[in-house]
Symmetry: C2
Subunit: 222 residues, 2 copies
């Protein structure tokens, strides 16, 4: 495919995703998409066979991005903890940068052709299982406490997927800030507690907490 | 309203929600609803003015249930920690028992009449703020570490709302099991650390520093 053709294709997909999100998939016509793009419907048809094909392609690209990212991370020479951090970071970045895609992906499953919907469900299952494997590796390595790994996966995906509902691109927090805060919730929830100690460390901790309190207070009053 | 009339109304709502979930709201007709119920369409019209009214009523009952539950918990003589536990427990129970309602509630916002959609958005905002207040009370009381309360709310709601996507009523886990596991992730993530030792303390220190950085960044961007 020529680069120009590919760019137009991408533009059709992102424009359609925006319209599907705002008006709903069924309420949006190909005329709406063509009008928004300043393109004729005939020309639109040289890229996609119809609205259903556009919807399927949005879903396909979304699951492919997630699946490819997770496969890369799974293969990487990283500890399970590092892998989980990387998954969350990439996931949050993608949800934030493709909110329309995600809204369509999560809301229009019932509108997909049945065969494609089944294939998609299988890919999602595989994704969940591969992520579960990372959590289980972390449990075996002793990095995480022995938690129900599948529920960690669902809880974590719930936290990061939900971003498509509330993320405000004009708000103060970028995707990396959010990923780090979410990771801090989850890691402290699933890391194996160990023992040890030191009054010096405890003093540093208390000091940092005071600083954090002061900064958080300042933020609230800002 | 007579009790029989109320029971039929509830049945119409739950049947419609099931159909909307399986086929999508726009693809479902009132004829489909009437046929599933073994009821005439004329008789259906004596309960609801149309499909849009059914959709609005499903959304209204859903947000009302959440809002009423949260208000009761907020007023109760409970510690912030206990309040948060109770919110999560009730939320999970409701999502599990009303999955069709929740699917419609979260997927069909674009199909709602504009005025109703705006009122609903305001109610959701209020819910988020009231839940944030509980987290802030927990921070002030020292039960939770000084986390960004709004992100706790979004993370927590993401975990529990996401259930509507994956919960399997034939699976081994009931709502209370799931709520307790999720709470164990979240509480260990947001509870103030008490005693501790070497590697655990060092990790907390690193985590606090990351949070401090993220908060300072947010402050600069605010």
């Amino acid at each position: 495919m020529s680069r120009k053709r590919e760019a137009v294709r991408d533009l059709i997909l992102s424009t359609s995703a925006d319209l599907f999100r705002d008006r709903g998939y069924r309420a949006t016509t190909l005329d709406d998409v063509a009008a928004r793009l300043g393109m004729s419907k005939a020309s639109l048809y040289t890229y996609f066979g119809g609205k259903e094909e556009i919807l399927a392609e949005i879903s396909r690209q979304t699951i492919e991005t997630f699946t490819r990212g997770l496969a890369e991370i799974s293969r990487a020479r990283l500890s399970p903890e590092e892998k989980l951090r990387e998954v969350v970071l990439r996931h949050v970045r993608f949800v934030v940068s493709h909110r329309s895609f995600l809204t369509v992906f999560f809301s229009e499953e019932a509108s997909l052709p049945a065969r494609f919907a089944r294939a998609l469900a299988r890919q999602k299952d595989r994704y969940d299982r591969d992520l579960e494997t990372i959590v289980q590796q972390g449990i075996r390595s002793g990095a995480f406490r022995p938690v129900p790994a599948r529920l960690v996966v669902y809880g974590l995906l719930g936290m990061v997927n939900w971003l498509y509902k509330w993320y405000n691109p004009r708000g103060p927090l970028g995707p990396d800030d959010i990923a780090h805060v979410f990771l801090s919730f989850v890691e402290d929830g699933i890391r194996a507690p160990r023992r040890g100690g030191g009054p010096a460390l405890a003093r540093r901790l208390a000091r940092l907490r005071r600083e954090l309190d002061a900064t958080a207070r300042a933020l609230r009053n800002a």
